[in-house]
């Protein structure tokens, strides 16, 4: 099955960093040489309330924007998306395309027999992955859950490599800081902040990398093919 586009839907809870994750995913894919777009869906979101964001990665310019109604990949950031129905769509996998992929941040299997039957019927693979546990073990904070999810996505779909992921994470957390501060004029307070920031980035990178490798192995075991052909390289707008 050759795709020209991978549409990713990320149901999450407010505060988990799904918007940040979408931005990093699109930035990394763009760096890798694909066309990419990310956008959040905003209500009056608050912590623990449903929140959703989207990323689109493709071989040709992407015009499409807004909610991803027919996703190739769904990344469930929190078990409550499924167990408490904290999702914009019901069931959470509504609209998923044939041979799609679902990554769920969970330590246990949350799907019913009916869910499994329906998903198997359209050849959708489900990857149960304890992203929060991963984040706590490697980064020492559950706040890095989104980094684990990013790593898992790219490890599983096999289209965007670790260098691009690193670039995506760095550009999200580093670029603006350097641009506005001016490296030469950093005072000691800023330097301390900067050091803390670098440590944080390091932890995030390690979390994403470990998740990437785990998902890559899972993907090989499942016999998954890369979701996209190699990137079209030169991206012009």
């Amino acid at each position: 099955m050759t795709r020209r586009r991978v549409n990713v839907r990320m149901p999450a809870l407010g505060g988990q960093g799904a918007v940040t994750a979408a931005h990093i995913i699109a930035t990394a894919a763009d760096y890798e040489g694909y066309y990419a777009v990310s956008n959040p869906f905003f209500g009056a979101e608050k912590r623990m309330a449903p929140a959703e964001s989207y990323a689109r990665i493709g071989m040709e310019p992407i015009y499409d924007r807004g909610e991803v109604v027919y996703p190739d990949v769904i990344m469930v950031f929190h078990p409550q998306v499924i167990t408490m129905g904290k999702s914009y769509t019901m069931p959470f996998y509504s609209g998923i395309k044939r041979k799609g992929l679902i990554i769920i941040n969970t330590e246990e299997d949350l799907l019913t027999e009916e869910d499994k039957e329906r998903l198997e019927g359209i050849e959708v693979k489900v990857f149960n992955f304890p992203a929060t546990r991963f984040a706590i073990d490697i980064a020492g904070t559950e706040l890095s859950t989104n980094m684990a999810m990013i790593g898992a996505l790219f490890g599983a779909i096999g289209a965007v490599g670790l260098e691009a992921i690193e670039e995506g994470i760095k550009s999200r957390f580093l670029k603006k800081f350097v641009a506005s501060g001016g490296t030469a004029s950093l005072d000691s307070a800023l330097e301390r902040k900067f050091k803390k920031k670098l440590e944080l980035i390091e932890k995030n990178l390690n979390t994403a990398k470990a998740a990437y490798e785990l998902a890559q192995r899972w993907s090989q075991e499942q016999g998954l093919e890369p979701f996209l052909p190699p990137p079209p390289k030169k991206v012009t707008v």
């Binding site: 930035t27 763009d30 959040p40 209500g43 015009y63 924007r65 550009s171």
Partner: protein
Amino acid sequence: MQTILEALTYNRAGQRVVSPDYLLFEAPRTKHFMTGSEAVKETGKKASVDASVSYPITPQSEAAHLIGELWVEGYVGVYFRGESEFGVMSEIAGCAMAGARTITTTSGPGTLRAFENFPMWAGTRIPVQLVLMARGVNSPLSIQPDNLEVGFLLDTGCMIWYAENAQDLFNMILAGFMVAEQPDVHVPVITVVDGFFVSHTREAIMLPPDDIALPPYNPYKAPMPVIDAEVPPGRFLRDPFVMKSNYISYATHASWQWEVRSAIERSRPYAKHYLRGLIEEFGDPTAELVFVACGTAAAQAKEAVRLLEEEGIKARVVKLKTIRPFPIEELKQAVKDAKYIFVPEFNVVGWLEREVRRYLYGVSEAEIIGAPRVAGGMTMPAEVIVKEVLKLTGKEVKHVL
């Protein structure tokens, strides 16, 4: 005679002043990855802006905030927060009357609260630029994208332009200043994008370098003098003789209203130049099935054209970049061989369909279909547009599971 402003080599921020054509079409560009709100900041950085006034309302708050950062960085002369949207639009008018190049932003209910000011801007002939990030205005409340408010703005005497994405928005804002400030135009320009679909979407954008900028605004070339309480526009505001009930006051009001609309008509050649045409066409030029759309609806229609191609159906998109002035001749030419014209829209009333019908009445024999139409923040997946087309052909919809 060259004025001091025209002889400037560097602007207030220390950027080298270049010709608008160089900045828009010739300067080398590099790729960046950013949101539409960030693109507004990038434009402000290259537009030699004198003044901006802001007030928070979703989804334009970020753009307004980022213009404030430009002020901190020295790119914008004056920046402050108004006491409400009405305050903002009044205060920005004051800045413009005093001879400043001005930019401000608003959304949905903010637009409505400020509404009295828009025809005032046009009547006062100030080239204010408003970046409108459209959002729902109906009750029940929606903070999501919906462009009903644009339908309300059509006849305020302001130019209305519509950008599809961050790149469009960047280019349009720069072009907007150049067109709005032409002495024979000199009316406000409202540059519209769909909230969230553009403001919060992160995508690739090509930008010229930071050390060059547009020539500063030259208020001495304005068709009316910079604020003066004894002559228009100051005199209009201080002691409006049109407040008297006599025939000459009615005639003055009427002729001035016509003049404002004529000014919009006179913007056509400039807009054509700086926007590289008032419409953009996408898809098979021989297709008899045409989508006429603007903004995100045009983006979604482009995706639908690709899906329809897989179904063996030829289609194309005519994207309208300007709504006021309406690209009448361009549209007539573009749809002369069309059999079906779909007008997809992000609002319940179909204001664009009305416009399309109005200008194609008696000109085109194509069937005009005002669909699909979504509102209140709904997305318009390309599959939904395809479904609408396939209804016409009686074909099965394959894409929807």
